[in-house]
């Protein structure tokens, strides 16, 4: 593949730049910043895409975005192996503006017009990566240096795996992993490896299996032993049965021994005893009991006899009185009557006492009723309702009359009192009248007035008019005085004003009122101290007012004086008008004149009147002088007393009138009272008559009923309950009398009866006598009872005695019978016989018991054998034998049991072995372990195979493949270094390093090479690899100033190599060095030179 044209649209500093590369070797020359590196990058970018922002993170400049903005990208025209011209365009945005891809969008246009993208481009580029291209095909010194340290795995691996196809590190890593795995799986003589451990546990299982194999032998032995045991058990069982039988017989013998001996002796004794046939049972006891009974019977009959005798004697001794029985009924009835009689006596006494008391009570009651009264009166006065009513009627009438009389008396008394009082009052009034009259006469003035009054119609009003007129006169006089004063003041002021015409001195205006005020005040104070407060106050007030008035006036006058200097005049108080002083003064004077005239008129009138008055008065008392002075003096001094006297007189006259009225009134009242008194007297008279009538009727009534007079109806009424009581007492008394008579009759009859029975001698004490008789009777009766009882008893005893003798007879008969039965003549022989018979029976019984027991024990048939056995052997001998047998038996049993146990054990063990799965389980386990081992083994083998395969392949590679690349590289390197080095070596197994090889075969690590040589080495490697790569793709080699570190000679040889290479690869060499350019041009005249 070749690049024939480059068109930069916009890339880094370059913009709209085109280059045409015609030759296989192109030298691009340009100074620094001409855009060489940019161009190299541009080619890379078009082919592999823009560097992404991520990649260019710290080398943003490497993205080469156009500095001035605008289109970013460009195109290349390539010619591939098939000579096709292919246009490759790449821009940072899609051609159809769909979006942006960080690597840009490529468009590949083939000559036939077909269009492709990245995929097609990648095919053209043989699928190599951008990185590889950068390092291997388009590189500068930087990339060369990178190669030096083989930092980049991809590059490093590519260097080696040009024919390897794999990164050596991967290979080495894989080898290491495989080795590790293998060693984990197994190591000869290892312990912790998987297989080693499994082997160990397999061994353990094997051992266990070997052990369990022995079970078969054990099993057989067990089976044999089991069979032997079986036989032995059978033998022993037989033996045991024999022994058992024997032992049982011996035991039986031993058990039977006692019984057997007993039987023998019983039989011997029986043989000796006589035979008493049909011997009655218990003959002795029966006989004895009969004897006992006999004895008892004899005693009983004796007792009976004794008792009979006793009873007879007793009967004889009882003395009976038949006489007593004759009076039995009588005595009994009397005895019964005793208590009644006693009671009657008691009742009699009580009744007597009661009667006496009742009587006493009756007498007392009668006395209470009336001293004259006795029972007959009482009986004849029934306390009937009529009587009662009558008495109360009387009582009512008398009461009414009495009450009326009392009322009348009271009324009369009142009226008399009233008359006395009125008389008294009348007298008092008369006294006061006279008293008043004397008082009025004592008053002079009043008398004068009266006198005057006779002349003048009405002195009172006259005096009052006079007083009024005088007061008016005084007022007018005062005003005149005042006015005169003012006129004077006015004049004075006028004079002062004239004097002080040129100066204003208002001091006087103040001084005057103050002094006036002061005078007033002092006057007032004086008046106060003298007690005339009213005047004082008036004076003070007047003074103050005056002072104020003066002050005001003076102010005004002062003001006036300002306006009208040198002018005099009078001013009226309170006037606002301004008058000329002359006018003012005349007004005042006029007024004064008028008032004085008025006053004088009034004075004249007064004088007339006073004179008149005097005349009137002097008619009585002296002469009168018609003069004002006198008049005035009188007015001042006498008018007031006159006035007072007049008032007093009118009051007195009023009082008189009142007294007169009162007296009249009283006289009227007196008259009325006298009238009333008369009426009352009449009524009292009537009442007295009625009372006398009632009193007569009452006395009649009392006499009729034998009441001693004078009893009031009240007393009679109060006696009525007593009368009633008297009645009841009387009745009671009658009843008691009846009962007394009855009691007396009863007692008398009893006493008579008693006397009849006891005789008169006992009559004194009838009760005692009767009681004694009663007792005697009772005793007699008791005796008779006892006799009867004794007779009864005697009969019974006789009966008993008879029965006893009968029983005795039969008893004796039975005793005789018994003796006969027992074949005995006497009691003694009976006893002997009885003992013998008892013994025989006992022995017989024993034998009867023993024989079947023994038979049962030996099962009947062997009785004789038993006899023989027991006869032959003693007890101890037998016991010994039995003991021995028992012991042997126990031993045999034990043996059998042990054997059985053993046999059971064996059978169990054998069964366990027969069914035992442990062996097969172990075998299965072994197989499982084996399986797991084999699996591990296979794993091991597979890994070992893989490892081996890997190693073998590596060997092959090292031997056959690697030299191919290195050979070519070595060739280039040798040429470039002018055979200072013979080649390059890559020791594969060790670290991925290259060595330069000296002619003597010595390897020099790249690190130790000079810079130039090292670069030549890498260059040689690159050329070789590019050649190697040519099998895949033939790409142009773009180199950026790589020759700068070469000396001239080596540069030339290097250029030669390049020239040779250019026949197969397009070579584009960038340089900024002139010497390089020249050397190249000199060496390779056919190259195309492009100058930037």
């Amino acid at each position: 593949m070749r690049i024939v044209a480059i068109h930069v649209e916009g890339y880094g500093t370059l913009g709209d730049r085109s280059l045409h590369l015609d030759r296989p070797f192109v030298l691009v020359y340009g100074p620094n910043e001409a855009g060489k590196s940019t161009l190299t990058s541009f080619i890379r970018t078009v082919l592999f895409g823009f560097m992404t922002r991520g990649q260019a993170e710290h080398r943003i400049a490497e993205r080469y975005e156009p500095l001035g903005g605008g289109t970013y990208g460009g195109s290349l025209i390539l010619i591939d192996e098939k000579d096709q011209r292919i246009l490759v365009e790449r821009f940072d945005r899609t051609l159809n503006s769909k979006g942006r891809s960080s690597t840009g969008t490529v468009k590949v246009t083939f000559p036939d017009g077909s269009v492709g993208g990245e995929e097609e481009l990648s095919l053209i580029l043989g699928g190599i990566s951008s990185e590889l291209f950068r390092v291997l095909f388009a590189f500068g010194l930087t990339e060369l240096q990178e190669l030096r340290t083989l930092q980049k795995d991809e590059i490093g691996s590519y260097l080696y795996s040009a024919g390897l196809g794999i990164s050596p590190s991967v290979m080495i890593d894989g080898e290491r992993k495989l080795t590790a795995r293998i060693e984990r799986l197994y190591k000869p003589r290892g312990k912790n490896q998987e297989i080693n451990m499994k082997l160990k546990s397999l061994d353990d299982v094997d051992i266990a299996i070997r052990r369990s194999k022995d079970f078969i032998t054990q099993y057989d032995a067990m089976k044999n032993e089991e069979r032997a045991a079986d036989i032995h058990i059978q033998e022993l069982e037989q033996l045991r049965t024999g022994l058992n039988k024997q032992s049982v017989w011996l035991e039986t013998c031993l058990k039977a021994r006692d019984s057997w001996f007993r039987l023998q002796s019983v039989q011997a004794e029986l043989a000796e005893l006589p035979d008493l046939p049909a011997f009655p049972e218990q003959v002795v006891s029966r006989y004895e009991s009969l004897l006992e009974e006999q004895e008892r019977l004899i005693i009983d009959s004796q007792e009976c006899k004794l008792k009979l005798e006793q009873l007879d004697h007793f009967l004889d001794q009882l003395m009976l009185n038949d006489q007593m029985l004759l009076h039995k009924t009588e005595i009994e009835s009397l005895l019964e009557g005793v208590s009644i009689y006693q009671a009657d006596l008691r009742t009699l006494d009580e009744l007597k006492v009661e009667y006496a008391q009742t009587n006493k009570e009756l007498q007392r009651t009668l006395r209470l009723v009336d001293a004259k009264w006795d029972e007959h009166h009482l009986e004849s006065f029934p306390v009937s309702a009529a009587n009662r009513e009558e008495v109360s009627r009387f009582k009512q009438q008398m009461d009414d009359l009495l009450r009326e009389r009392n009322l009348l008396d009271t009324e009369e008394h009142t009226l008399i009192n009233q008359r006395d009082r009125l008389n008294e009052e009348h007298k008092m009034l008369a006294e006061r009248k006279s008293e008043e009259a004397s008082v009025g006469a004592g008053m002079q003035l009043t008398a004068l007035v009266d006198k005057i009054g006779d002349k003048i119609g009405e002195p009172t009003s006259y005096i009052r008019t006079l007083a009024n007129q005088y007061a008016s006169y005084k007022l007018l006089d005062q005003e005149c005085e005042h006015l005169r004063q003012r006129v004077e003041d006015h004049h004075l002021q006028q004079a002062l004003t004239d004097q002080l015409a040129h100066k204003k001195d208002s001091n006087s205006s103040l001084t005057i009122p103050i002094s006036v005020g002061l005078i007033g005040a002092i006057g007032a104070a004086l008046l106060f101290t003298q007690g005339n407060a009213t005047y004082g106050a008036i004076l003070l007030g007047a003074g103050v007012i005056l002072a104020l008035g003066i002050a005001v006036v003076m102010r005004k006058s002062t003001a006036g004086s300002h306006q009208a200097k040198g002018r005099r005049g009078r001013e009226y108080r309170g006037s606002q008008e301004e008058h000329t002083p002359m006018g003012q003064s005349s007004v005042l004077t006029d007024k004064l004149t008028r008032v004085e005239r008025e006053r004088d008129e009034l004075r004249d009138r007064l004088q007339d009147q006073v004179y008149l008055f005097w005349q009137l008065r002097s008619a009585d008392s002296g002469k009168v002088e018609y003069a004002w002075v006198y008049a005035k003096r009188w007015l001042d001094e006498q008018l007031e007393p006159w006035q007072t006297a007049i008032e007093e007189r009118s009051k007195q006259q009023d009082k008189w009138a009142l007294l007169g009225e009162k007296t009249a009134d009283l006289q009227q009242q007196l008259f009325a009272v006298d009238k009333q008194l008369e009426k009352l007297e009449a009524r009292i008279q009537t009442n007295t008559y009625a009372s006398a009538d009632v009193g007569t009727r009452w006395s009649e009534w009392l006499t009729r009923h034998a009441f001693s007079e004078p009893l009031s109806p009240y007393a009679v009424e109060a006696s009525l309950p007593l009368v009633e009581q008297g009645h009841s007492l009387l009745h009671q008394q009658r009843r008691l009398e009846g009962r007394l008579a009855a009691a007396e009759i009863t007692t008398a009859s009893f006493e008579a009866a008693a006397a009849g029975l006891l005789g008169s001698s006992a009559a004194a004490e009838p009760i005692l006598g009767v009681k004694r008789q009663g007792e005697a009777l009772a005793q007699e009766l008791r005796k008779r009872e006892e006799a009867a009882r004794a007779m009864e008893e005697r009969a019974a005893v006789e009966l008993t005695a008879l029965s006893l003798s009968q029983r005795l007879d039969s008893l004796q008969l039975r005793m005789a019978e018994l003796l006969e039965q027992a074949h005995a003549e006497s009691e003694t022989s009976l006893r002997v016989n009885a003992r013998l018979a008892a013994r025989r029976a006992e022995l017989d019984g024993e034998r009867r018991h023993l024989l079947p027991a023994l038979t049962a024990l030996v099962h009947g048939q062997r009785l004789q054998e038993l006899d023989a056995m027991l006869t032959e052997h003693g007890e101890s001998e037998l016991a010994l034998q039995a003991d021995e047998l028992t012991q042997r038996l126990a031993q045999v049993t034990r043996e059998v049991n042990e054997l059985r146990e053993r046999r059971g054990l064996l059978a169990g063990e054998a069964a366990k072995l027969e069914l035992g799965t442990s062996h097969s389980d172990k075998l299965q386990q072994r197989e499982e372990q084996l399986a797991s081992l084999q699996q591990a083994g296979r794993d091991y083998a597979v890994h070992a195979f893989a490892l081996h395969l890997l190693r073998k392949a590596r060997e092959v590679y090292e031997q056959e493949r690697q030299p191919g690349v290195l050979k070519r590289a070595s060739d280039y390197f040798a040429r470039m270094t002018q055979y200072k080095f013979t080649g390059i070596r890559a020791p594969f197994a060790s670290e991925q390093k290259l060595e330069a090889v000296r002619p003597d075969g010595r390897g020099v690590d790249t690190a130790y090479l000079s810079r130039g040589t090292a670069e030549q080495l890498y260059l040689a490697m690159r050329f070789a690899l590019a050649e190697e790569y040519a099998t895949r793709v033939n790409l142009p080699l773009i180199m950026d100033d790589i020759l700068v570190n070469f000396d001239d000679a080596r540069m030339e040889t290097c250029l030669e190599v390049l020239n040779e290479l250019s026949t197969r690869h397009q070579i584009i060499l960038f340089t900024c060095h002139k010497h390089v350019r020249e050397a190249t041009l000199r060496k390779l005249p056919n190259l195309q030179l492009v100058e930037l």
């Binding site: 297989i195 078969i216 032998t217 027969e914 591990a936 091991y940 890997l950």
Partner: protein, 439 residues
């Protein structure tokens, strides 16, 4: 000749453990342990049911020379049962239960004949009312490793001619050196054909096989009935015995009857196109259900082989993913086992999957991996090279011969080696891919 019927079985391997199983739960182990016995019981039942005239057991009644007592007792009981039904039984002992092995001294019931080791014995079988029906010849192994050609000892004698009956030879042998089995009492087919037997009742090879003759033929029958119960993944499919009907003409008719209790399966599942674990699991479960249906109501052991290339390969390799998957399947199965129901127990999952990678292309490449693969393929072409490669690769292991034997490293056959090599290829690719290589 009298027509009659007999039962031919061999290799009971009573009380033999199952091979290749690791980490069996107890309940499964119990079922496994009983399986060989159950198969024997099935045999007895079959014999009684089919009213056979005799029963042949051609060696390896027990699994080991030191036979288990339980096995012997159970076998004795089985024999007693047959005896009760008046079915005679003829037994030879093989390499697994030679007569020199430890055995309990058990008494064998009437009608049970065990051939000795010294010489070929012949027994004329007579049935009540039918007279002689067959003559059975046989010889037992004295020791576990008999390398003589015992077939040669079976010779026609005069008696054969005097009283011609159906001749049956019983031999525990490896005819023509069957590779999968130990080459004991080796003989050739020819040897057998020349012996004058009508029927060779062979034992030893566990895979059912009729070497000569067969149904409805008058030819000499040479028959391996196979073992009665499969015990490892190598013994897949139905296992049982033959019932042979002999006609009056001496024609034979063979009918196979399965006796096995637990049947083994190896099933392959392709992972191509699968995307996740769930899909694998579903596929495995589906496969297990299918297999269970095939097993006619028997429980099964199954090895699940995952094959193919796909993205799930990486998922399976991750951590213990494969084991987890297995555990999960087993857990599900455990529920059935606990219930005593028929189960299908995943013995293992064999992961033979590979990365999605164009191996063919790699093989073409002149690259390291290409070299490696090519090398592996070359090795797989040649057994010798393979053996040599094995010896080189496992040199450190093979030095420990005992260990190597236990691990089966030295006994692995070429196919296994090839399989391992393929696994190694995948492992290498995976390992390199883990390191970052991506083809």
């Amino acid at each position: 000749m009298q027509p009659f019927r007999f039962l031919h079985s061999a290799d009971l391997h009573l009380d033999s453990p199952f091979k290749g199983m690791s980490h069996l739960p107890d309940s499964i182990r119990d079922r496994v342990r009983e399986s060989t016995f159950a198969a024997l019981q099935e045999l007895v039942t079959l014999a009684v049911q089919e009213q056979v005239d005799l029963v042949l057991i051609s060696g390896d009644v027990y699994d080991l020379a030191d036979r288990s007592l339980r096995a012997q007792i159970r076998f004795q009981k089985a024999m007693q049962e047959l005896s009760i039904h008046h079915i005679p039984v003829f037994i030879i002992h093989g390499n697994h239960d030679p007569l020199d092995g430890r055995a309990a001294k058990l008494s064998w019931p009437e009608g049970c004949y065990i051939f000795g080791t010294e010489q070929v014995e012949s027994v004329l079988v007579e049935r009540e009312g039918r007279g002689a029906i067959a003559r059975v010849h046989g010889i037992s192994y004295r020791t576990s490793a008999v390398v003589d050609n015992l077939a040669l000892k079976f010779q026609q004698t005069d008696s054969h001619i005097k009283q011609p009956v159906f001749e049956i030879g019983m031999l525990h042998t490896n005819v023509e050196g069957e590779a999968d089995h130990d080459n004991y009492a080796p003989c050739t087919k020819q040897d057998l054909l020349q012996s004058g037997m009508n029927y060779w009742a062979l034992g030893h090879v566990h895979t059912r096989k009729v070497i000569n003759g067969g149904t409805n033929s008058g030819d000499t029958c040479i028959v391996y009935p196979g073992n009665t119960q499969g015990r490892s993944v190598r013994e897949c499919g139905p296992r049982g015995c033959y019932i042979v009907d002999v006609t009056a003409e001496g024609y034979t008719k063979l009918t196979f009857h399965p006796l096995d209790q637990i049947r083994w399966f190896v099933e392959t599942i392709q992972i191509v196109g699968m995307e996740n674990e769930q899909e694998i699991k579903d596929a495995l479960e589906l496969k297990m259900q299918e297999v269970l249906k095939l097993a006619d109501g028997r429980s099964c052991m199954i090895r699940l082989v995952l094959e193919g290339r796909g993205p799930v390969h990486d998922l399976l390799r991750k951590g213990s993913a494969l084991q987890d998957l297995l555990d999960e399947l087993r857990d599900q199965e455990m529920i059935r086992v606990e219930q005593g129901a028929v189960f299908i127990w995943p013995e293992s999952i064999d992961d033979r999957t590979g990365r999605v990678i164009d191996q063919e292309q790699l093989l073409e490449q002149r690259s390291f991996v290409g070299d490696m693969l090519r090398m592996s393929r070359e090795l797989q072409q040649s057994d010798d090279a393979l053996g040599q490669f094995r010896d080189e690769a496992l040199s450190s292991l093979l030095l420990q011969s005992k260990v190597a034997k236990v691990l089966g490293a030295d006994t692995a056959n070429e196919d296994e080696l090839r399989e391992m090599l393929r696994a190694a290829e995948n492992l290498l690719i995976d390992t390199l891919a883990d390191g970052g290589w991506n083809g």
